[in-house]
Symmetry: C2
Subunit: 265 residues, 2 copies
């Protein structure tokens, strides 16, 4: 089983859109997928048509009230389950500031339940706070969605520093599987420059013992496609909403790359 | 003097791009502007070509070390000053969790200094945490940049709830000046639907005693323009980098609307 943290402290880079649609594409390819909404904004939860404020069991009950993973999970589909977020999560960092073991609550809850998912995907909030740290502590792999922009590049150093910290102090199996370029506009010089910079950075890490030494820059670029922004308003993934769109094609292609990367195709 | 919090807990909606370029356009129009980078990511600081980690005085020294506003400020231009962010800011929420008066530290520091700016713009992080609360507690007005997408609409309720909370408990002069639509693509049905929803929402609040009863939906749409994403890589605003671009035109137009809204044109 792979536990994948979909993370980037930069806002609005497609973390939620990637978790929702990569998850759907992995399930379409026959894998059993559990999605966990780690963000108090609850956009992943909304994307799947689940009402965040009225769900009783959620990531909050799991992390703060010692609730079980299986209880918090809602089955959405034959191969897709979801642990929804809740508004209460917003205060969790402050609520847990003095609780021992607060960084590994998610890991403990996942370990305490018998379950048979092929993939667990964790949609992280735009920050490097306690919720993201819990995701990194529980994950086997990290996928980093990124917009091919200059400001996006600025955050990568800090992001990888955090991954390294968690790898060294809490979770030695944590590694970066890859970077997925989102909202991609191949026409612009800026996108191509950012791609070059990223590829160079990844190549230089090869052979080192850094947790991103085997990271790839996914060949699939998720192109800008308004259908991806529309589908959450119908409580659907892109595969349900517009199965022939560029958005659907791109996320299926990304799923194929992810499956071959983990050699489970 | 107007203190404007540029806020939205949703990530990547153009808060930093708006603070940087609206600020530059207000200065170009003759106003004295101070920009304050409230985000540990320090993207506003980078956008103006200032190196965040090496600056000694920053928002951190102002809020946590009782430093003065005038000391933390760097003069960038005849009419533009900046209080840079610093990496230390990332831990501030946890560091100050038990400090009395932690929500009004910024307000206190601004009040303690003699200064003669026409506008102070506060670039907020993508969260409703302590740094954003400090901005709201110190502000006279809020400008909300928003992408005309469905998920963006989902956050507005929570955002306004927070504004109302701060207005009632800490800062009775806080009000929402307006919503600025960013990364706007007029071609899409989704943008037009979101515009309709927002306009309706704003109209319904008219005549109430809510802090957004006089809010406007700015007529200026900031169009998607790759030049806006390129300019930070040169440490420049769009007015310096590409003064004739759509991005420059749109932010000058937004500045004009802001000035007429505050009747200081
Ligand atoms: N490829 C795409 N084409 C068009 N719109 C997109 C694409 N990917 C995401 N979006 C839209 O852009 C906005 C930001 O995406 P999303 O919410 O997935 O980012 P995020 O990284 O999860 O944001 P946050 O940091 O707030 O959690 C959303 O409105 C989403 O619907
Ligand atoms: N109108 C625009 N056209 C093209 N690119 C834009 C536009 N506005 C912003 N961008 C780019 O989109 C990305 C997100 O914008 P920005 O960083 O200003 O958002 P933000 O709300 O401050 O994000 P965060 O939530 O991370 O603080 C940046 O790379 C920026 O350069
Ligand atoms: Mg998200
Ligand atoms: Mg920003």
């Amino acid at each position: 089983m792979r536990v994948i943290a979909v993370m980037n402290q930069k806002g609005g880079v497609g973390k939620t859109t990637t978790t929702a649609n990569l998850g759907a594409a992995l399930a379409e390819a026959g894998k059993r997928v559990c999605l966990i909404d780690m963000d108090p904004q609850a956009h992943l939860t909304i994307n799947y048509g689940v009402e965040p404020s009225t769900t009783e069991k959620s990531l909050y009950t799991m992390l703060v009230e010692d609730g079980s993973f299986l209880e918090a999970m809602q089955r959405l589909d034959k191969r897709v389950a979801l642990v929804p977020s809740s508004i209460d999560l917003a205060a969790v960092e402050v609520e847990l500031v003095n609780v021992a073991g607060r960084e590994t609550l998610l890991r403990d809850r996942l370990a305490a339940s018998e379950h048979d998912f092929d993939f667990v995907l964790l949609d992280c909030p735009p920050s490097l706070g306690l919720l993201t740290i819990n995701a990194l502590a529980a994950a086997t792999d990290v996928i980093i969605p990124m917009q091919p922009h200059f400001l996006a590049l600025q955050g990568v150093g800090k992001l990888l520093e955090t991954v390294q910290l968690v790898n060294q102090q809490i979770n030695p199996q944590l590694k970066v599987a890859g970077i997925a370029l989102t909202m991609f506009d191949s026409q612009t010089k800026l996108s191509n420059e950012v791609v070059k910079d990223l590829q160079q950075f990844i190549d230089q890490a090869q052979g080192s013992d850094l947790p991103w030494s085997h990271a790839v820059l996914f060949k699939t670029r998720i192109r800008r496609n308004i259908k991806l922004a529309e589908s959450p308003s119908f409580g659907q993934t892109i595969l349900q909403y517009e199965p022939t769109s560029n958005g659907a094609q791109d996320y299926r292609a990304l799923a194929k790359e992810v499956l071959s990367l983990f050699k489970v195709i």
